[in-house]
Symmetry: C2
Subunit: 712 residues, 2 copies
């Protein structure tokens, strides 16, 4: 095979991510019988778990390795070779990749580390192998990855020793893309211990060629995958990520994610781990919320909860019906559910009647404490209590905490039966330590989902209720452009200055989208200001307009509540003096404005982020940073979504009027957010940031009293 | 032994809680060989774990039970019998307790349930056995308890099957008092799986006689117990609890607690579980904070973390040094530490130099990711990295997350060595699922503390830093009464009206404690009001004073910002009209007040709670419920503690002045809190509640602009 000359068009890729996840043939460079070596561990792992495709050990010194016919080099291996796994030292990496490229290999899975995440030489080496691969249409996974584990294909293509520990790969419908290889193995192991299985798991390392989104998209299209988990350090292409999330949502595939880099230490750790720039965690979180991705706090919990959820299924209407065998633990857990806004069902009369067979009226609580039964303890107490809760239409999900108790195995068997026959979602926590080992085995054999810590049980319930909320949100009509918010004509967009806009320029932009601003006159003398004030009506506001000053009040450029002509004239003198101090006096730089009246001051903003345009709204005016009562959403937002954003703020009751205050029109405020979101969509990357602060909301309107914007 | 007649003075108790926890002799009523029966399980458990005292099975039909000489009834057993364990049906309970009382038994441990927590008959039965016991000086544990587990005495005096599962009771220095018996067994089991041991665990059930505080106090005095865990459903005597906490703090014994009843569902569950009234969770939490008790969210986590802490020990100066074998997991965990305000150390030059042997400059992060080492992986990478972090003086505690990795056992052994030789506190999380079983055994054999979930690792770190903070707080001088805040003379206290005070009455109380209030004149005519306003200085405030109206503004009884005599006269007319509407016009019911000026409005309050007097302070004025930016403390508070309470509020930066606002004097505000706390101490149970709202804080003072109080 000849090397394409530089300058030639690059050939098309030989293989796609879907094929990489389900390869027909795998060559192992440096295959060895020594389990102490990378090439040995991978071969042992692949052989142990029954891969049905062609396995091609490459070893110059052996005719067979572990009984499998071996080839002296990759060129000698019978093609087509979908994947070649490379764990050679860095010094041999370029030559090995070249040999693979020339031999027609579809993709290399590069385990070799000390590349871009390591030093400058490693960065050069990584660029070199990408060049080699691209020139041949060969793809790369990694470098600095740990390969993949594909239980549905019986393929354990990783060096992790965990695959020697487990008797089998449990197939499930959860797919995982991880930027951390070691983490992939940890998650595999923890889920396995709970009977939790995966479809395909892949670690993408430094993402030199193929990146997280390639495999995310492949899993969205994969018919063996129903739930997708992502461990993210940094997203390469935020827009692509958001589009993929939308496709997953359309396909009905829940996506769970954990992202590193929420703190400085975490971001530095991520950068040094896989050379990923973490980006803004807040932007990622807002994008996830908009895209219906459930963001979790811990990878381990994500794997445990996702593999349980795969078998639990989605919940319908109703709340949680909780059964415990430890009354004390049940009481504390009920408290934790309340703190997490996870609803416990109020039992209806038929449910109470069914429970009254074994419980006195005063003991029919939610949770039901099995220890408080009346009469003598026997298996029917457990079985019939489970049955009563399972049958209750007010119960969307049964939450059972199984602690050390008499008849424990029998109770566990009854739980499995109830789960199988009722098809009701069950979240089971086996909270018995090693005393529960026999029950654990029973659950695993039965395929019954369970968790072992209440922390994880709460996370599973949170996921179920969040998924229900997201499904309801997905039913809603998409955001549509409101009236009088036409996209700016292209020439008008082009005519906007770049850099910081003045307040009148920013307000003009808002008015073009149908957002109200106070009446305003530019005055070039004290007398003109006084005349303007009379025309507008007292009290008025005077502002000095300076392009480069963001906090006008701090610079003495704002005078509020001017109630007569004399006050206006004095204010004019003061503001022009401040303008002179600010070294930007301009002929048309004093604005006389109507005083906006209302009972609530909001901040509404918009920004371009790596995931697309985003809006923000919150309480606080100048105290916004202190109050931290702000919500974010991807633009565009529908009116309903904007209203929800406002209703979710801590101070939202202010809209209804509290303690003698006037009510404020939440609809008018939501309308402004909606319009700003379309403005952000239309400005696109041109919008660095825009803030309305304050947006003054009265009983019937919302007025942008001040605004600033920076365009790129 | 004769029955004392009713009306006789009760005899002194035969035995105390300390002796009950360390009995010399135990009689088992209904001892049986059948492990399916309560009496059988308890006997099996006691025999299995090598109790050194006298074991006395009571069985009318057997000469020996499981080879132990048996007695036909309790009267036949050789005394003195410290404990008799009773698990008979409720119908036989009274007779059995009577027999024990007559036989001179020190205390009965009553496992029998269906007593007060069950129904009215059960309540009567419980009262009956208490009467029997009290008449004889016999004590009761329970009823509705699960007995106790005392590893330091080899005594497994409970029916829990978990004691048949474990080969031995691991002795430790953690004592537990639990209002839930099943929970005691769960906690025992989980800690055991992690090599965690206890000194003594006792379940107190319905607390008919001996209650949680009896055993809490016994553990404080117990020289085998160094750390105390409490599972609380309801506290019988809050003042006694607070005193015990203080004694534990004086004795240097950390106390950890979990309490049920934070939510309605949890409170109902607790009530039906052990007939406990949950009380206010907030009051309990504030009392714990004041008493240095660490309140945790989950009993399971409390047991795991406490038994690890028992071996980890307290931390000194410095922050966290984190080592991980999974870079991805490390990054996310670093984020979680930051979110929880748990500080990661910034490495000093000597530490960086030591790490540079195995790591490039860019990979010397905190966490150190062992996977990013340079050169070839060998054990010395692990050993020398651990050594570098252990030696770092900036590291108070090593946080090691051990995931599946090469050389895992060797690394674990190195960890144990480093922990043993360095005496540095280590928090180790073995995050490898069943792949880590061999390491788990190694840790347990070595007595090395470890946890298995990062959630618990974070909780352990939080405990270590909280304990360090509490030790620092304990060093501070106690709260002392400030000048001009003399206790109210007894006659003056007696002269205070009960029920709701008027604003002037409440303010007089505040002034008696040196708290400033605005100048104020009572006016009986519009003209008098205007004259008063001139004397006070404009602008003034006019208020109609009505004893039974709490929210004066809502009733139109407050007029603010009156800037001339005419405005005052008009306001007087308006307020008197509103007073007429409020049906309480009184001759001296209009107050003319100075307008207090300041930049911050606080609310400061005080209340009598079951744990004693409590103060509250927060931002918000009328928005206090919405802002939820409030802190609580037990009274009295020192100036320093009051300042800390304020500094911990979300809006605390307002004291420094933000965005052009004036600064506000945090010292003056802290002074008011301190004075209110002494007022609360002096009023004691007489104080139902008192609020200053708003307390107006200016650059140099704090003025109680309005106040209300209710006395009992």
């Amino acid at each position: 095979m000849s090397m394409p000359a530089a300058g030639d068009a690059l050939p098309p890729p030989r293989i796609d991510a879907a094929r990489i996840l389900a390869p027909r043939s795998v060559a192992l460079i440096g295959a060895s019988e020594d389990i102490g070596k990378f090439g040995g561990r991978i071969l042992h792992n692949v052989l142990r778990h029954g891969f049905a495709g062609a396995l091609l050990p490459i070893n110059p010194n052996r005719r067979t390795v572990l009984g499998v016919p071996a080839y002296a080099d990759i060129a000698a291996a019978p093609g087509p070779v979908d994947l070649a796994v490379i764990a050679v030292p860095a010094a041999q990496l370029a030559a090995t990749v070249t040999a693979c490229a020339q031999a027609g290999v579809g993709a290399c899975v590069v385990i070799t580390a000390q590349t871009a995440e390591f030093d400058a030489a490693g960065e050069r080496l990584q660029r070199e192998i990408v060049d080699i691969a691209r020139r041949h249409g060969m793809r790369l996974v990694g470098p600095n990855c740990m390969g993949m584990i594909s239980p549905v294909a019986g393929l354990g293509l990783t060096s992790s020793l965990t695959l020697q520990h487990v008797p089998r790969l449990i197939p499930g419908r959860v797919g995982l893309v991880s930027q951390s290889g070691a983490l992939m193995a940890t998650l595999f192991m923890l889920a396995h211990d709970h009977g939790g299985g995966f479809s395909r798991m892949v670690s993408v390392g430094n993402q030199a060629d193929l990146e997280l989104c390639d495999f995310f998209e492949a899993l969205i299209a994969d018919d063996r995958t129903a739930v997708i988990c992502l461990y993210v350090e940094g997203i390469r292409d935020g827009r692509r990520f958001v589009r993929a999330c939308a496709r997953a949502a359309d396909g009905g595939k829940p996506v769970l994610a954990v992202k590193a880099g929420r703190s400085d230490h975490g971001a530095r750790a991520a950068a040094s781990h896989t050379a990923s720039m973490a980006g803004s965690y807040g932007d990622f979180a807002a994008a996830c919320r908009a895209a219906g991705v459930v963001l979790m706090d811990e990878p381990e919990a994500m794997a445990l909860v996702a593999t349980a959820y795969d078998r639990i299924g989605d919940i319908g209407a109703g709340a949680i019906g909780m059964i415990v065998s430890s009354g004390g633990g049940g009481a504390v857990t009920a408290d934790r559910l309340a703190l997490a806004d996870l609803p416990l069902a109020a039992y209806t009369e038929p449910t109470r009647a069914a429970l009254s067979r074994h419980f006195l009226e005063r003991h029919i609580n939610n949770p039901v404490d099995l220890g408080s039964h009346k009469g003598v303890l026997a298996l029917d107490v457990f079985v019939e209590t489970i049955d009563a809760i399972v049958r209750a239409p007010e119960v969307a999900v049964v939450f059972y905490i199984l602690t050390a108790q008499p008849l424990m195995r029998e109770t566990a068997a009854a739980l499995v039966d109830a789960w199988r026959t009722s098809r009701k979602p069950f979240v089971v926590v086996l909270d018995a330590g090693s005393f529960g080992d026999a029950v654990r085995d029973l659950f695993i054999d039965a395929g019954m989902p369970f968790l072992t810590r209440i922390d994880d049980g709460l996370r599973a319930l949170a996921l179920l209720f969040e998924r229900r909320r997201l499904r309801a949100v997905a039913q809603r009509p998409a955001a549509t452009r409101p009236a009088h918010a036409s996209p700016l004509a292209a020439e008008r967009l082009a005519a906007l200055p770049s850099g910081r806009l003045t307040e009148p320029e920013a307000k003009a932009l808002l008015r073009a989208y149908g957002i109200a601003t106070p009446r305003e006159v530019i005055a070039d003398s004290a007398a003109a200001a006084a005349r303007a004030a009379v025309a507008i009506g007292f009290p008025v506001v005077l502002k000095g307009l300076v392009r480069r000053i963001v906090h006008k009040s701090d610079a003495g450029l704002v005078r509020l509540g001017l109630s007569d002509a004399e006050a206006v004239r004095q204010a004019y003198a003061g503001v022009t003096a401040a303008l002179t101090l600010a070294a930007e006096p301009a002929p048309e730089s004093v604005s006389v404005q109507e005083t906006a009246c209302g009972s609530v001051e909001l901040i509404v903003g918009a920004r371009w982020t790596e995931y697309g345009p985003q809006v923000m709204a919150g309480f606080g005016g100048t105290l916004v940073e202190l109050l931290r009562d702000v919500g974010f959403a991807s633009a565009p937002v529908s009116r309903a979504a904007a209203r929800e954003l406002l209703a979710g703020l801590r101070l939202a009751p202010l809209f209804d009027g509290v303690r003698g205050r006037d009510r404020a029109d939440i609809e008018a405020a939501a309308d402004v957010i909606e319009r700003v979101s379309w403005l952000a969509v239309d400005l696109g990357r041109q919008l660095v940031e825009l803030d309305i602060n304050p947006l003054i909301v009265g009983p019937r309107d919302a007025v942008a009293a001040d605004a600033r914007a920076t365009l790129g």
